[in-house]
């Protein structure tokens, strides 16, 4: 195989990976091209291993990578490749174009998975069902912004262990003190100091969008979107019978994210709930990366679950063991007659630091001191 052939093959394979959601960049392709000159090209396993190293395939993408590599090596044309990828002679350009439209590639993947029918309680008709939202009133939104700014500010005042130079308070910093003293012939006239830095809040929010949550979703989604605006590192997930990472959908772009666009991204909107399965999926795929001792995990759900409660308890335990705090927002808690007797809620409760209502603005306001503590 000539070098040009090799590079063409590589660009094509990268395109196939990208179409299936495995992110690769041009610099990765360059690394891979060089790596391939260093290995035995007749040894399939060695080529696969070298590509995984050079293309930086993350553990969550390994299965997909392996499957696609095996098919590519066998010379099989992936039938489910988006048309752009199959037609265009310039694969790299096509892949780049496709990367600009992640929504479309995603839709196809969702459709394929639904055809396999391996997800319980998941009907193809429900896929990507649009869900109309009424507009929030301007007064509501303004009030919410004000509240969330306060919430974010409270969060942002947590101090980290990192020390930054300050004027007149904190621990003495010998490095800078002596540095200054050198200017005055070695006389220590003023001590420089450092104090603990202010830390950026880290939030992961998992929001239940099942049917029983319907009356609250419009309000809660606006809440989540505002949250994302004031604390940009916030990670958003929606779940009903399955888990969907919303963060890529609400990242800063030309179009402002709206509840409608979010609804379009979540399959089976307003369907049933499988909290346990969804949270277990979160633990499996995202916990290690997104949750650490600084992260506050917020779960928004009514706890009405028709799934496996043991699975739910296990997932909650796994999240709790790693997070700084777990907060469960439950719209039903607002009802004075509420008792956490739903099976799901009961299973999750031992691993929840704060169970709080979330049915109106007032209840969210009460949340501020709990999150900041």
């Amino acid at each position: 195989m000539s070098e040009r052939d090799l590079i063409a093959h590589l660009a094509r394979f990268s395109g196939i990976l990208r179409a299936r959601g495995v992110r690769t960049s041009l610099s990765d392709e360059a690394d891979a091209a060089l790596a391939l000159t260093l290995v035995d090209l007749s040894d399939r396993d060695e080529v696969r291993r070298a590509l995984a190293v050079a293309l930086k395939v993350l553990p969550r993408d390994r299965a997909v990578f392996r499957e696609l590599f095996d098919r590519f090596w066998a010379g099989e044309e992936p039938a489910d490749l988006p048309p752009d990828e199959r037609r265009s002679p310039d694969r790299a350009a096509a892949a780049r174009r496709l990367a600009l439209r992640p929504g479309r590639a995603r839709d196809e993947i969702l459709e394929r998975e639904s055809e396999r029918g391996d997800t319980p309680g998941y009907s193809p008709e429900a896929v990507l069902r649009g869900k109309p939202f009424e507009e929030c009133s301007a007064a509501d939104l303004a009030e919410m912004e004000r509240l969330l700014t306060r919430l974010a500010w409270k969060l942002a005042t947590r101090r980290s262990r990192r020390l930054v130079p300050t004027a007149g308070r904190g621990r003495v910093d010998p490095r800078r003190s002596f540095r200054k003293a050198v200017e005055t012939d070695g006389e220590l006239l003023r001590l420089a100091r450092r104090a603990r830095a202010v830390e950026e809040p880290r939030l992961v929010v998992l929001c239940d969008t099942s049917g029983s949550m319907e009356p609250h979703t419009r309000f809660l989604l606006s809440f989540l979107l505002s949250l994302k605006r004031v604390a940009p590192s916030t990670e958003l997930f929606a779940f009903n019978t399955r888990l969907v990472r919303l963060t890529p959908w609400v990242s800063p772009g030309k179009l402002g994210p709206t509840p409608e666009r979010l609804a379009a991204g979540v399959p089976d909107w307003s369907g049933g709930t499988r909290i346990g399965e969804s949270l277990a999926e979160f633990v499996e795929r995202y916990r290690d990366e997104l949750v650490d001792h600084r992260t506050i995990v917020v779960i928004v759900s009514d706890g009405l679950d028709r799934g496996d409660t043991e699975l739910l308890a296990g997932a909650m335990r796994a999240i709790r063991s790693r997070a700084r705090k777990v907060i469960w927002l439950n719209p039903l808690v607002g009802d004075p007659r509420f008792e956490p007797t739903q099976r799901g809620m009961e299973a999750a409760l031992p691993y929840v630091d704060v169970l709080a209502p979330a049915h109106n603005l007032e209840s969210l306001e009460r949340l501020i001191p709990m999150v900041a503590a």
Binding site: S25, S27, D28, D31, L34, A35, L38, V39, D40, D43, D45, E46, R49, A50, A52, V53, A54, L55, K56, V57, L58, P59, R62, S160, R161, R162, L163, P174, R175, F178, R179, A181, V182, D185, G186, D288, E289, L290, D292, G314, R317, A318, S321
Partner: protein, 295 residues
């Protein structure tokens, strides 16, 4: 398989590191392409060990930078030796040297404390192995700084000017994935994810590291560990735990696994209260059965 990769794999094994082809290939590419290698995987799968073995193989120095939250430039890169500088300034007073002369003296290499990153860049005797351990524990700001150092292999010290690398070091970074490493840094590196070892590999590791354990016990231990990792655990035991356990069992003069013995020593393998209480009792027996059935 390419001859050089096989040779690397074999020499790693001679140094006591059982490397599967994936590890040897990644290390070979990192050496040949002169790119940093980012190694991820659960605690105890042998990430740090790779750097130690590499340094031994190349008979060079291993320079280790342990990351932690709050790690800053003065700990990672360099710091002026202030007390020494102060003394020199005091001594210079009666000599009547001009301030410019004093400055020239106290801002020279002799007054510079080299921290790991600077040491890795300025080592004259040949390229060292630089291990940036647990990069996931440092904050994002440090990650950005590291990216810069790894791109240019040069460091600018305001008082001294720019120091260029004498030899580009072999760089290995490890992460336990307690947070996601930034895309920019990951793209700068080659990437290796190490999984828990297979049964065969684990037996070979035990045989290599705890030869006193004998073949039968080693196999039983490895089978039990395979079965144990199949459970939902908060902290799955790594190779480090396997080796500790094998040593503990040898100390107890065990020649085969028995439920009671496992119960007594389970704390060596499982270090989470929930995991321990979950596996104790009925589970141990069923895991042992499972392990026996697999043999």
């Amino acid at each position: 398989m390419r001859e050089e990769i096989r040779a690397l794999q074999e020499s790693m094994e001679r140094e006591g590191y059982i490397a599967e082809p994936a590890i040897a290939t990644a290390l070979f590419l990192a050496i040949e392409m002169r790119k940093p290698l980012l190694i991820e995987g659960d605690a105890g799968v042998g990430k740090t060990e790779i750097a130690k073995v590499l340094a031994r193989l190349l008979s060079t120095e291993l320079i280790r930078l342990q990351c932690y939250e709050g790690l800053d430039v003065s700990t990672a890169l360099y710091e002026w030796d202030y007390p020494k500088q102060m003394l020199r300034v005091r001594m210079a007073e009666p000599e009547g040297s001009s301030p410019a002369q004093i400055e020239e003296v106290i801002y020279s290499r002799g007054y510079l404390l080299e921290r790991p990153l600077l040491r890795a860049i300025t080592r004259r005797e040949g390229p060292p192995v630089l291990l940036v351990d647990e990069i996931d524990r440092a904050d994002d700001g440090f990650e950005a700084f590291l990216l810069e150092v790894l791109s240019d292999f040069q460091v600018t010290i305001p008082e001294l000017g720019t120091l260029r690398a004498e030899h580009v070091p072999y760089v290995l970074l490890t992460s336990n994935r307690s947070r996601e490493i930034g895309d920019a840094l990951r793209r700068r590196c080659l990437y290796l994810y190490i999984e828990h070892p297979s049964f065969e590999k684990e037996v070979r590791i035990i045989r290599a590291r705890v030869p006193e354990a004998g073949e039968r016990l080693s196999e039983q231990i490895a089978r039990f560990l395979q079965a144990l990792r199949g459970r939902r655990l908060l902290k799955a035991p790594g190779v480090a735990e396997t080796i500790d356990w094998a040593r503990a069992l040898v100390r107890l003069h065990a020649d085969r696994l028995e439920p009671e013995l496992i119960e007594q020593t389970l704390g060596v393998l499982l270090k989470d209260r929930h995991d321990l209480s979950g596996v104790r009792g009925v589970e141990v027996a069923s895991l042992l059965e499972q392990a026996a059935a697999a043999s």
